[in-house]
C-alpha cells in the first residue's frame, strides 16, 4: 500500500523495495550508469592499489625475519614498484570519480526535470491535493538526498566491493584456511545487517516526510504572511513551525541513532575478525601453514577487508536515505495522469472560431457527489454564451471540463465536432483558453507577463517581434492610458504573484495575455471583484475587443454580462434549468427573470 497522504492523490512515497527503487531510478535516468563498464574497469585498478601496502609489509617483515643478504636493494625495488602502483591507483580513482560525478549530476538533473514536467501534466485536481511547498521538496531536497548517494555512495560501494574481492584474492594466496575463517566470522554480521538496514530505511523515510510537513507549514506561514501579521497570530504560527522543526529534528536524530548502532556493529564485527585471525593464525603458523610475515600481512588485509565492509554499511545507510528521497520522486513520476493526450489525435480542422457541443455531461469529483448532471449545451461558432447560477451550481466545474482540466464522468464535449479527448493537448491549449478569475502573474515585468507563453506558440520568435506583439496588444486593448500612469510603464515589475498591482490591474494583464494567445474559444470565469471604476471601464473595453469575433463561454457573475450575450444558460444544482436568449428567458418569467429583476432593482437603487 502506498502511504496515504492526507487525502493527497500523490503518494508520499512509492512502495518499491530498496533495490527495486534503485533499479527504477536508473530506468528513469539511465544517464546514471553511462559507460559503467569502463568506470568499473578503472575502479578495479583503483582497488588493486589498496593491496600494495599489505604486500609490501609482508615482504618487509619476512625480509627482516629471514635475514636476507641484500635487504636494502630488495626493499628499494619493492618500494619503487609500490609507489608506481599507488600513483596509478590514484589516477584511476580520479577518473572514476569524475565519470561518476558527471553521470550522477546529469541523471539527477534529468530526474528533477522529469518530475517537474510530470507535476505540470497532472490534472489541477490532483495538483491541488498536495501542498505547493511539499511539491517543491520533491524536485529539490528529495533529489538532493539522492545526489549524495549516487555521487559518493555509489563510488564507495563500488570500490568497497572491489576492494573486498581484491583483499579476498590476496588472502587466498596467503592462506585459504584463514580466508574461510574471515568470511565465516562475517556472515552472521551480514544477516544482522538486513533488519538493521530496514529499520534505518523506515526512519529515513520518516525524516523525509517530516521535512515535507515542515516545508508545508513554513510555506503556509510565508504565503499567508499578511494574515499571520494582521490578525496577530504570529505566536501560534511560530509554535506550529517550531513543532514541525522539532519533529523533523527528532526523526533525524532517531535515524542517525539507528545508523550509529549499525555502523558500530560493523566495526565490532570487523575487529572481531582481527582477534579470530590472530588466534587461528598462531595455531596455523605453529603447524607450519603460514609464515610470520604472511600472518602480519593478513592482519593488514583484514583491515582492508573490514574497512570496506564498514564503509559499505555506511554507504548502505546513505542508500536508505537516498532510497527514501528517490521513492518520493518516483511516486510523483508514477502518479497517473488523469487527463491524457490521445495516442492518435485526429486531423485538426482549420483555425477560426469553433463550435462547442456539450452532450449529456455528468461529473463527479473522485469520491464525491454528482456536481454536474445531464448538461446539454451548444455554443455556435463566433457566439457569446453566458452561464449564470449561484455559487455551487456547477458553473466553474463546467468551465473546467470545457477546457479539459478534467474529463466528464459521463457524456461528451466536442469542439469543432471533435471530442476534446481526441484533440491533441497542444491543439487544445492553443485553441481553447481559460481565463481564471485570479490570473497568476510571475515575478517579472508587465510586458514579460503579457508575453508569457508566446515563444512556445511561436518557436524562434525574436525578442523584437515579441515586443512588437505586446505593444500591439497594449494599443489595441486600450491599455496605453493605464500603463502611462505607472512609473515604468510596461516595464514595471509586478512583484511576487503580481502583488504590487491591484486586482483590476492584474486582470488587465491577464486579458492582454489572452489576447495575444489568439485562442478560438475563450472560456472566462468572470472576475467578481469590484475594482475602481476607471479600471473597470478599461477592463470592459479590453474585454469587448478580446471577444470580438471569437466563441466565448463566460461564467457570468454580473447579469449585465448575461444581458449582453447571445445565449444565456442558467444552472442550478449541476443542471441546466433554463437556456435561450436574454429576451426569451425574460419572457419565460422563470428563474432567470427573477434573478434579473432583483439585480435591476438593486442597481437602479444606486443610481442618481
Amino acid at each position: 500500500m502506498p502511504d496515504s497522504n492526507n487525502g493527497s492523490h500523490i503518494a508520499s512515497a512509492s512502495n518499491l523495495g530498496a533495490i527495486a527503487t534503485v533499479r527504477r531510478g536508473i530506468q528513469l535516468t539511465p544517464e546514471l550508469i553511462n559507460g559503467i563498464w569502463l568506470t568499473l574497469a578503472l575502479a578495479v585498478l583503483a582497488a588493486a592499489g589498496k593491496v600494495v601496502i599489505p604486500i609490501t609489509v609482508q615482504q618487509a617483515v619476512d625480509a627482516t625475519t629471514s635475514g636476507a643478504e641484500n635487504l636494502l636493494g630488495e626493499i628499494t625495488t619493492v618500494g619503487t614498484i609500490a609507489l608506481i602502483a599507488i600513483a596509478v591507483a590514484a589516477l584511476s580513482t580520479t577518473a572514476v570519480n569524475i565519470r561518476l560525478v558527471r553521470n550522477a549530476e546529469r541523471g539527477l538533473a534529468r530526474l528533477r526535470q522529469q518530475a517537474f514536467r510530470h507535476i505540470h501534466r497532472l490534472s489541477v485536481l490532483t495538483q491541488n491535493t498536495e501542498r505547493r511547498g511539499a511539491l517543491v521538496s520533491r524536485v529539490t531536497s528529495d533529489v538532493d538526498t539522492i545526489s549524495l548517494f549516487v555521487q559518493w555512495g555509489g563510488i564507495m560501494l563500488l570500490t568497497s566491493v572491489l576492494q573486498l574481492v581484491a583483499a579476498t584474492a590476496v588472502m587466498l594466496f596467503y592462506s585459504w584456511q584463514l580466508t574461510i575463517l574471515v568470511w565465516v566470522t562475517f556472515i552472521p554480521f551480514m544477516f544482522l545487517l538486513r533488519p538493521a538496514q530496514r529499520r534505518v530505511n523506515v526512519s529515513f523515510t520518516r525524516v523525509r516526510s517530516r521535512m515535507g510537513d515542515l516545508l508545508g507549514a513554513v510555506s503556509e506561514a510565508i504565503v499567508g504572511s499578511s494574515t499571520v501579521y494582521s490578525y496577530g497570530i504570529a505566536d501560534k504560527t511560530r509554535e506550529k513551525i517550531t513543532t514541525r522543526v522539532n519533529e523533523h529534528r527528532s526523526a533525524g536524530v532517531q535515524a542517525m541513532t539507528h545508523v550509529a548502532y549499525s555502523f558500530a556493529a560493523g566495526v565490532f564485527a570487523a575487529n572481531l575478525v582481527l582477534v579470530v585471525v590472530v588466534i587461528a593464525g598462531a595455531y596455523l603458523g605453529v603447524a607450519g601453514n603460514i609464515t610470520a610475515g604472511q600472518l602480519v600481512a593478513f592482519l593488514f588485509l583484514t583491515q582492508l577487508f573490514t574497512g570496506p565492509v564498514q564503509l559499505a554499511t555506511e554507504v548502505l545507510n546513505e542508500l536508505q536515505n537516498a532510497v527514501a528521497g528517490w521513492r518520493r520522486v518516483i511516486a510523483v513520476i508514477e502518479t497517473p495522469i488523469d487527463v491524457t493526450s490521445p495516442e492518435n489525435s485526429v486531423t485538426q480542422p482549420p483555425r477560426g472560431p469553433g463550435a462547442l457541443t456539450i452532450t449529456d455531461v455528468a461529473y463527479r469529483y473522485p469520491g464525491g457527489d454528482l456536481v454536474l448532471n445531464d448538461v446539454n449545451l451548444h455554443v455556435q461558432a463566433g457566439k457569446r454564451v453566458a452561464v449564470v447560477g449561484e455559487t455551487g451550481s456547477g458553473k466553474t466545474t463546467l468551465a473546467k471540463l470545457v477546457t479539459r482540466f478534467a474529463d466528464p464522468t459521463h457524456g461528451h464535449i466536442a469542439f469543432d465536432g471533435i471530442d476534446l479527448k481526441d484533440h491533441s493537448q497542444e491543439d487544445l491549449r492553443t485553441r481553447i483558453l481559460l481565463i481564471p478569475q485570479e490570473g497568476f502573474l510571475f515575478n517579472a515585468t508587465i510586458a514579460e507577463n503579457i508575453a508569457y507563453g508566446i515563444s512556445q506558440r511561436h518557436p524562434g520568435i525574436t525578442q523584437e517581434n515579441i515586443t512588437q506583439t505586446v505593444h500591439q496588444a497594449i494599443h489595441e486593448l486600450g491599455l496605453t492610458p493605464w500603463l502611462s500612469t505607472l512609473p515604468n510603464g510596461e516595464n514595471t515589475e509586478v512583484g511576487q504573484r503580481g502583488e504590487r498591482l491591484s486586482a483590476g490591474e492584474r486582470q488587465l494583464i491577464a486579458l492582454a495575455r489572452a489576447y495575444i494567445s489568439g485562442a478560438d474559444l475563450i472560456v472566462m470565469d468572470e472576475v467578481t471583484s469590484a475594482v475602481d471604476p476607471a479600471t473597470e471601464v478599461t477592463i470592459s473595453r479590453a474585454l469587448e475587443k478580446l471577444m470580438d469575433g471569437k466563441s466565448t463561454l463566460t461564467i457570468a457573475h454580473r447579469l449585465s454580462t448575461a444581458a449582453a450575450s447571445d445565449h444565456v444558460v442558467v444552472m442550478d444544482s449541476g443542471r441546466v434549468v433554463e437556456q435561450g436568449t436574454h429576451e426569451q428567458l425574460l419572457a419565460l418569467q422563470g428563474r432567470y427573470s427573477a434573478m434579473y429583476n432583483a439585480w435591476i432593482s438593486q442597481t437602479t437603487s444606486q443610481q442618481h
Partner: protein, 607 residues
C-alpha cells in the same frame, strides 16, 4: 539563541567566518558537543592503542610462537587484550556518532526556528519582495548546508587527539620512524588549503543555484492552473531546465575538484606507510627498531588512512556551510522596521475606539526620484462610525489603512487609537483591538472553525457561528459535510472569492475588534450581501469601521466618505453630499455607468 544585538551573520574574512561558524555551533550546543568530542578523543586514543597492541602481538606473541619460543596457548591472552580494546573502541564510536548527529540536528533546528521566527515577525511588505521559493530553500537546503560541517567535525577533533597520540607513540619507538611517518602532514595541509581555496567559489555558486531551482519550482507550481490554461507546460519545463542544467554544471565543477583532490589525500597515508617501511627496515638493520615496531607504525598509517581524510571532509564542507549559514543569516538579520512598543493598552473588547491620523506622510525613493504616496493626511474617525475611503488605484487608500494596524509605519505623523499612539503599543494590544481584512484571503489548510478562530481555543462554537452568521456565510457552512469542522483543503481552493471574503470577515468579527478595517475586503461580494453584512456589523458590533471601497453602494452606507487623490484628501462628506457637489467624486463613482451609457448610445447610433 543569539541576542538581539549580535548579528546572526558570521563576521570577517572567509577563514574567520569558518572558525566562527564552528565555535559558535559548538558553544550553542556545548552539552552535546562536550560528549561528542570527548567520545571522539577517546576513539582517537584507542585507535592508536589498537595499532600498538597489534605491534605488540606481532613481536611478543606471533613471531616468538611461530619461532617456537612461546607456547601457542598464550595467544589467547594476547587476543584477549585486543578484544578489550575493541569493545572500548566500539562504545566510543556509538557515543561519538549519536552525539555528533544530535549536535547537527539541534543546530539545524536552531536555524529553522530562527527563520520561522523571522517569517512570522516580518511585515507583509517584506514578504512581497521575497520569493517564497527562496525562503523555503533557506529552511531546507541552506539550514542543512549550514550544519553539514558538524557531521565530520567531532570526528576530526578526535583525529587531532589521535595524531598527537600517534606522534607520542612513534617518537617513543624511534624518532626516524616518526619523522618519516609525519613527513606527509605538511603536504596534507598544503593540499587541503589549496582544495578549500578552489572549492569555495564553486560551492557558493552551486548553493545559490540550488536556491534558484527552488524559486522557479515554487513559482511554477503556484502558477499551475495558469500553465494548464495556456498550455505552457513546455515553457515552464524549459525555464526549469535552464536552472537545473546550470545547477548540474556547478555541481559537476565542484565534484571534479573533489574528484581530483580526494585520491591525493587518499594516497598520502599509503605513501607515508611506504616511507615508514623503507626507513623502518633501515632502522631494523641498524638495530634501532624491531619488526614489531615497523608493523605498529605501518599499521598505524593504515588505521590513519580514513581518519585523516576527516580534515578533508571538514574543509570540503566548510565553504558550503558558510554559504548556507550566511544565506540563513541574511533573513534572520533582517530588521523589522516596525518595532512593537511596550505599552499595553486595555480596551474592552467590543468597545469602539476613535482613530486619529495626524499629518501622515509616506514616501519612497526610486530611480525616478522621491514619490509621495501620502502627504499631510489628517483624519479623525469618530468611535463607532463607518468611514469609507474612495479614490483611484494608486491614490494611497490601501497604504493609509495599512498604517493603522502597523503593517507599515509612516515616515511622518502619528496615528492614535483611543488616544494611544499605535507605535507605542505592544503587538498583542494592537492586534487585539484593530483587525485588518485584506482583499485576498488566505485560507489555512484546516477546518472552518480554525480558519475563523485562527487556533484560538478561547472562542466557543456559538461565537464562531455568530460570526459566520454576521458574515452571511453560516448557511453555506451548514451545507458542508461536517459543518464548522469541515476541512477546507489547501488554501481553500474550492471556495469562491466571495466565500473566502466572507470567511475573512467572520474571522475578523469573532474577535470583536474596536476598529475594523476592510481594505477592499468586500469586493467579491454581491452589493446586497455587502450591505446586509455591513448592516449587521453596525447593529450588533460596536466597532469603528474603516473601509476601502469602489462601489457607490458601499459609499452610501458610510457615515462619512473621504476621497483621496495622489496621496491627499480632496473631499469629505456623505455620499449624498459629494455626489451632488463634487465633480471629482462624481467622475470617480459614475465612470463605469457613464461608459456603459456611452456605449449604448454608440450602438444605438450604429443601428
Amino acid at each position: 539563541m543569539t541576542s538581539q544585538n549580535t548579528p546572526y551573520a558570521l563576521p570577517g574574512s572567509q577563514t574567520r567566518q569558518s572558525i566562527t561558524l564552528m565555535t559558535r555551533g559548538i558553544r550553542n550546543e556545548w552539552r552535546i558537543y562536550a560528549i561528542a568530542i570527548a567520545a571522539s578523543g577517546v576513539f582517537g586514543l584507542i585507535t592508536v592503542a589498537t595499532s600498538r597492541v597489534v605491534g605488540h602481538l606481532t613481536s611478543s606473541y606471533i613471531i616468538p610462537i611461530l619461532d617456537g619460543n612461546r607456547s601457542v596457548a598464550t595467544i589467547w591472552a594476547g587476543a584477549g587484550i585486543l578484544f578489550a580494546v575493541i569493545v572500548a573502541l566500539v562504545i566510543s564510536i556509538v557515543f561519538r556518532r549519536i552525539f555528533a548527529a544530535q549536535g547537527t540536528f539541534h543546530l539545524q533546528a536552531r536555524h529553522r526556528r530562527a527563520l520561522g521566527n523571522k517569517f512570522v515577525e516580518l511585515p507583509p511588505a517584506w514578504h512581497r519582495q521575497t520569493s517564497p521559493g527562496k525562503l523555503l530553500s533557506n529552511v531546507s537546503s541552506d539550514s542543512e548546508a549550514a550544519t553539514s560541517v558538524f557531521n565530520p567535525l567531532p570526528f576530526m577533533l578526535g583525529v587531532v587527539v589521535m595524531l598527537i597520540a600517534a606522534a607520542v607513540m612513534l617518537f617513543s619507538i624511534d624518532s626516524w620512524l616518526a619523522l618519516s611517518a609525519f613527513s606527509i602532514i605538511p603536504i596534507m595541509i598544503i593540499a587541503n588549503l589549496f582544495f578549500q581555496q578552489k572549492m569555495t567559489p564553486a560551492v557558493t555558486h552551486a548553493q545559490e543555484l540550488r536556491g534558484e531551482v527552488s524559486e522557479v519550482a515554487h513559482e511554477s507550481f503556484e502558477a499551475a492552473t495558469l500553465v494548464k490554461a495556456m498550455g505552457t507546460e513546455d515553457t515552464e519545463a524549459k525555464r526549469f531546465d535552464t536552472v537545473t542544467d546550470d545547477l548540474e554544471k556547478a555541481n559537476v565543477r565542484a565534484g571534479t575538484i573533489r574528484a581530483v583532490f580526494d585520491p591525493i589525500i587518499d594516497a598520502l597515508p599509503n605513501i607515508g606507510a611506504l616511507l615508514v617501511l623503507i626507513v623502518g627496515l633501515q632502522r631494523v638493520s641498524a638495530g634501532a627498531a624491531t619488526a614489531g615496531d615497523i608493523v605498529s607504525a605501518a599499521y598505524l598509517m593504515s588505521l590513519l588512512a580514513v581518519p585523516v581524510r576527516s580534515f578533508g571532509w571538514v574543509l570540503a564542507e566548510l565553504p558550503r556551510s558558510v554559504v548556507g549559514y550566511q544565506r540563513v543569516a541574511q533573513v534572520v538579520d533582517t530588521t523589522n522596521t516596525v518595532t512593537p512598543g511596550t505599552h499595553n493598552m486595555t480596551l474592552t473588547p467590543g468597545e469602539p475606539a476613535e482613530v486619529k491620523l495626524a499629518d501622515i506622510g509616506v514616501s519612497f525613493t526610486d530611480e525616478h526620484g522621491t514619490q509621495h504616496v501620502l502627504q499631510n493626511v489628517t483624519l479623525t474617525i469618530t468611535a463607532g462610525t463607518t468611514m469609507v475611503l474612495m479614490g483611484r488605484t494608486g491614490a494611497g487608500k490601501s497604504t493609509l489603512v495599512s498604517l493603522i494596524p502597523r503593517l507599515a509605519d509612516p515616515d511622518q505623523g502619528t496615528i492614535t487609537i483611543a488616544d494611544h499612539n499605535v507605535a507605542e503599543l505592544t503587538r498583542t494590544a494592537l492586534s487585539n483591538s484593530v483587525v485588518f481584512v485584506a482583499q485576498s484571503t488566505f485560507i489555512f489548510e484546516d477546518t472552518v472553525r480554525t480558519n475563523v478562530t485562527l487556533s484560538d481555543s478561547a472562542y466557543t462554537d456559538e461565537q464562531v457561528w455568530e460570526a459566520l452568521e454576521a458574515a452571511h456565510i453560516a448557511d453555506f457552512v451548514r451545507t458542508l459535510p461536517k459543518g464548522i469542522n469541515t476541512n477546507l483543503g489547501e488554501r481553500g481552493s474550492n471556495l469562491s472569492g466571495g466565500q473566502r471574503q466572507r470567511l475573512a470577515i467572520a474571522r475578523a468579527l469573532v474577535r470583536r475588534p474596536s476598529v475594523l478595517i476592510l481594505d477592499d475586503a468586500t469586493s467579491a461580494l454581491d452589493p446586497q450581501v455587502e450591505q446586509a453584512i455591513l448592516a449587521t456589523v453596525r447593529q450588533n458590533y460596536a466597532t469603528t469601521v474603516i473601509m476601502v471601497a469602489y462601489r457607490a453602494a458601499s459609499a452610501r452606507l458610510a457615515d462619512e466618505v473621504c476621497v483621496l487623490a495622489h496621496g491627499n484628501i480632496v473631499a469629505r462628506g456623505t455620499h449624498d453630499q459629494l455626489v451632488t457637489t463634487n465633480n471629482y467624486y462624481q467622475e470617480l463613482v459614475m465612470a463605469y455607468e457613464r461608459d456603459a451609457e456611452q456605449r449604448r448610445e454608440d450602438s444605438n447610433a450604429g443601428l
